[in-house]
Point group: C2
Chain length 142, copies 2
């Protein structure tokens, strides 16, 4: 068993950025499958080797740092709807949360060196990219 | 459009820790649905309000900081199998990656104040917890 409380911190270094026509949180869709546009992930040259097996058509999870979110918000009205009861952020997908990490399921449309175009990404232009993971298939396909 | 390269960094402050019988990466399952045990998430008191709507039976995504992973690894043999070709880590679920954020799908078994017991968590004892999100249902249920 471990003690819960501690003051350790960890430093994230983005591996790239989102380039998207979305520039305004108020007009962006709330999730990628709610009408988000195609966007580009522009990666840093230092992670080129990590990218090399990404292929058109792949289903990926993109993790981002929601750099315009608030970290001091612990409860929200879901989807900004004041008629819905205030809910702890760990039970919502609000961008506002103690560690504002965005999780986006996307499909690869184009691979062009350090630039990867994906469908269905609701992240705003300039959002830092932290990680990319494949969507897992069935256990026997891993 | 944005420039990809930059030196911005972001600081993660864990919201809790994993308490698990798993203490050794070599013997831990590779994914939660491959025989991982139940474990406890022990949250810091400062995020109590964010937790308050978690319920037994909820399906959650837990994000962790894989503090025993290497950040300088960009390609691996998947699942440690040397017979498989070396693959860029963005196409694998290797813990070793530039920002070693773990993504775990779990089900809530018990809620006891700041302690939440979950099924199917392959994270090691002491792993920092960064965030908790609900699994999204269909668009019309959000």
């Amino acid at each position: 068993m471990v003690e819960a409380a501690n003051d350790d911190t960890y430093v994230l270094r983005p591996v790239g950025r989102v380039a998207s026509p979305l520039t305004d949180a108020a007009s962006a869709p709330r999730q990628g499958d709610e009408g988000a546009p195609a966007a580009w992930l522009i990666f840093d040259a230092r992670v080129e080797r990590a990218l090399r097996d990404l292929r058109v058509g792949a289903e990926l999870l993109v993790l981002t740092w929601l750099d315009r979110a608030r970290r001091d918000v612990l409860a929200v009205h879901p989807r900004g709807d004041e008629s819905r009861p205030e809910t702890g952020v760990f039970s919502t997908r609000s961008p506002h949360r103690p560690n504002p990490i965005g999780l986006h399921r996307v499909r690869v449309l184009t691979v062009d060196g350090l630039r990867v175009q994906v469908a269905d990404l609701e992240a705003l232009d300039g959002t830092p990219v932290l990680d990319v993971k494949p969507v897992l298939g069935a256990v026997d396909e891993r």
